[in-house]
Subunit: 203 residues, 2 copies
């Protein structure tokens, strides 16, 4: 059985990332989740190793330092992240693992796991992105401007991504199909099947 | 419109290449043919530039020398080949072009067009390949042995291929779907969309 893929999916506000990933999850059976690590305290009923790996701040920071955390985020004073070991177990079992993260986190994953496949989901254009964000009518102007500025910054890092998927209006299912094709193609790539010659010859 | 892909599909005897390509052609609409060049004389009714580009042996050899022929073969004393210029026109029009050729020709195409996507179609194993060739019951023993020996030689060149597609028994349609996924993924790859940033920003 071939190893699973570590897929990183990024997308600015207005890219429709949530909907695309929802469709992708419905379509793909070989996708698994890894249990995240966190420094926050367990809530009633939460089980260590099932809901989260509950670890101390010192432990979390030490793991970051030693490349043991693929990506992480800080929220309300607590760390949340993906342990490399957990991810490797999923991949070794032949399952694909999806991380939905920002550009900075994506760069970190690529550094720790060069085999990761980085996919950037984009609105068709920055102008269309602005139209979508304003169209929601739910956010204050300063927040919209901040999101647009962030997208302009993030797009400069497009060079670290392996694939670019454009989400046209109402095309979330098409985008999920694009990502499915990427998964299928990547798993057929020669560099992911280095033992193909001896496998064919039965050595 | 993005540029089309130059797809090279190779596969040893018993790989089911013909059937897979038939399914692929039915499935994919963006595939075009290029007009081949040949040194043989036109037959009655054949039109230069439509059926073939009819050129002299000197012209053909000169084009080979100058990288103007992507791949060629000699048959009954005549040359047949794919002119690079014809191929480029098809690709520039956004269409994909498929060349069904042997390993040696594939290496030549990769040398002249590094952007070409090389796909090797394989039986699940060499043993299964032998079973298929004998199962046909149409070829003499020496021919079967020669084909098997050729496959063992060709598999050594697997390193030049970008993708490996395995044709399990009765899985020709699956293989065509694999190749469709490869086409779709490759067209989304960042290196084939180098102007994505300025396109997004509308510059």
């Amino acid at each position: 059985m071939s190893r699973g893929l570590l897929l990183v999916i990024s997308g600015p506000a207005g890219s429709g990332k949530g909907t695309v990933i929802k469709y992708l999850m419905e379509k793909e059976r070989d996708i698994a989740y890894s249990v995240s690590a966190t420094t926050r305290s367990p809530r009633p009923g939460e089980v260590d190793g099932v809901n989260y790996h509950f670890i101390s701040v010192d432990e979390f920071k030490s793991r970051i330092e030693h490349g043991g955390i693929l990506e992480y985020t800080e929220y309300c004073g607590n760390f949340y992240g993906t342990p490399k070991k957990e991810a490797e177990e999923v991949l070794d079992a032949g399952k694909n693992l999806i991380l939905e993260i920002e550009v900075e986190g994506a760069a970190n994953v690529k550094r720790i796991c060069p085999d990761a496949v980085l996919i950037m989901l984009l609105p068709p254009s920055h102008a269309e992105q602005e139209r979508r964000l304003r169209g929601r009518g739910t956010e204050p102007e300063d927040k919209i401007l901040a999101r647009l500025a962030q997208a302009r910054e993030e797009i400069k890092q497009l060079g670290i991504y392996d694939y670019i998927v454009y989400n046209q209006d109402g095309a979330a299912e098409e985008c999920a199909q694009d990502i499915s094709s990427i998964i299928r193609a990547e798993r057929l790539s020669r560099r992911r099947n280095p033992d193909a010659e001896s496998k064919f010859l039965g050595n």
